[in-house]
């Protein structure tokens, strides 16, 4: 398994996988979009606006899935000090932030017809907003620390701190929400959803997951290549060769 984590194995592997993944993503999206926008019925209460769900819910799923990916990479960075884990972690953060942003925007768009306002401090939406801020913090940390290895370890620690904190934040926000507005405005998902609406949702979830996997592999590959390029640039600039570092041990008598 670790063999594939070596960049020299990883890069050709990605090159082989990417066309297939891209194809699968396109097919899944084609089926999912057809299902969501043409096959699935409009909701008898919400009308056509319910179709936002087919983007909103998969985006919410991905916002968490991506954080889980970052957590796994963070462990790889801290425990095995693996450069591929560094790259995977760095590549995942902006993608996760983008999906979280999509989730927030679609939630807001959905909220306008439902609640009559663009933003409601609903427990779910608020938790996702906090997650979005955490993503932004991670990206900021990546961008601020010069040294790549140090940035990776810092971001890894912050990711793990976040993983411990996210359930606590979720719990607090839920508690805070019930305190201030006892009834949840609307519920969705769960077993009450009709099968005709469920299957497009699942297909869209799969399509989003495939899209994430494709984007993440591409971004990780780019990050590895970017690092190689920078190392080469440094070597060229300092006129250094790839020669092994040398040292020599000798015994000397000092002037007594």
């Amino acid at each position: 398994m670790l063999k594939y984590a070596n960049p020299t194995f990883f890069l050709p592997l990605v090159a082989k996988l990417l066309p297939w993944l891209t194809g699968a993503t396109v097919v899944a999206f084609a089926i999912g979009i057809w299902g969501a926008f043409f096959s699935a019925p409009a909701d008898y209460q919400q009308g056509e606006t319910v179709r936002i769900m087919y983007i909103h819910v998969p985006a919410a799923w991905l916002s968490m899935f991506c954080y889980a990916t970052m957590t796994a990479s963070a462990l790889g960075t801290l425990v095995w000090r693996h450069p591929l884990a560094d790259a995977a972690q760095k590549a995942a953060a902006p993608i996760g932030a983008a999906f979280t942003f999509v989730c927030l925007v679609t939630g807001s768009l959905w909220g306008k017809p439902m609640w009559g306002t663009w933003w409601v401090w609903d427990a779910r939406l608020t938790s996702v907003l906090v997650l979005f801020v955490i993503y932004l913090g991670l990206i900021a940390l990546w961008q601020t620390i010069e040294d790549a290895g140090r940035a990776a370890r810092g971001a890894a620690i912050l990711t793990l701190v976040g993983v411990v904190n996210l359930p606590i934040i979720k719990f607090s926000v839920d508690w805070w929400n019930t305190l201030h507005q006892p009834a949840s405005v609307f519920r969705m998902g769960g077993p009450t959803i009709a099968p005709s609406m469920l299957w497009p949702l699942l297909v869209m979830g799969m399509a989003f997951t495939l899209l994430f996997t494709t984007l993440h592999l591409m971004a990780t590959r780019n990050e590895i290549l970017r690092r190689r390029l920078r190392r080469l640039a440094i070597q060229t600039a300092t006129g250094e060769t790839n020669a092994q570092p040398t040292h020599r041990l000798t015994m000397t008598g000092g002037a007594e």
Binding site: G149, P245, H247, T250, T252, A255
Partner: protein
């Protein structure tokens, strides 16, 4: 400085296949050496050859890319070098707002090893380093050389068997350099070990490690 009241117990400092990297570049690789009581290792090399990286690595501040380094005592017990070493780097570790005495009192408490204690007071240590007059001055007011002497005083206050000195002669005047050489000799005579990176010769019999030099 030969009135050494004690000597360090027998130990061996073993480095095996050590490699350290900085900024993604491997600077030292496959370094193996062994030091024991009274030995000194002087590291030389051009700027950027990795002297500071090596010393910071030996002091435990950097994770080794490969290999191990540790202290083995007579009974075969293993310790990290960091827990038994004094590290003197480019900064002194003194708080500018505190007086020299306050700084040294703190480091004496912080760095003392259990079971090994020095009877020296911070004032006496400052006197040994030739700067008894600065004890009550905030370190911010001291010159670079005086600051360095205050920093070096902690080596006497909390005896530790391994000294890791990175360019220890920096900022010291001629008298200061002679004083440091004397301290180092006293330390080696007490059964201590020295690992130093320096351009100027310390005037001691030592193992010489040249980094980055063409073999």
């Amino acid at each position: 400085m030969t009135e050494s009241p004690f000597s360090f117990p027998t130990f061996r400092l073993e480095a095996q296949g050590l490699a350290f990297a900085r900024g993604g570049r491997t600077l030292v690789e496959g370094l193996t050496f062994s030091l024991t009581n009274g030995d000194a290792l002087v590291v030389t090399g051009a700027n950027g050859a990795g002297k500071s990286t090596l010393l910071r690595g030996l002091a435990g501040f950097l994770g080794a890319h490969a290999g191990t380094s540790l202290l083995i005592d007579e009974a075969g017990g293993r310790e990290t070098i960091a827990s038994q070493a004094h590290y003197v780097g480019h900064q002194e570790g003194s708080k500018p707002a505190l007086t020299a005495r306050e700084n040294l009192t703190f480091w004496q408490a912080m760095l003392a090893l259990p079971g090994v204690s020095s009877d020296l007071t911070p004032d006496a240590a400052l006197a040994r380093l030739g700067v008894p007059q600065v004890a009550d001055l905030p370190v911010a007011y001291l010159s670079a050389g005086q600051k360095r002497r205050v920093g070096l005083a902690r080596l006497l206050l909390a005896p530790r068997p391994v000294w890791i000195l990175d360019e220890p002669l920096t900022a010291l005047d001629g008298a200061g350099q002679a004083l440091l050489t004397q301290l180092v000799k006293g330390h080696l005579a007490q059964g201590g070990t020295l690992i130093a990176a320096t351009h100027a010769p310390l005037g001691i019999k030592s193992l010489q490690l040249e980094l980055g030099g063409a073999a």
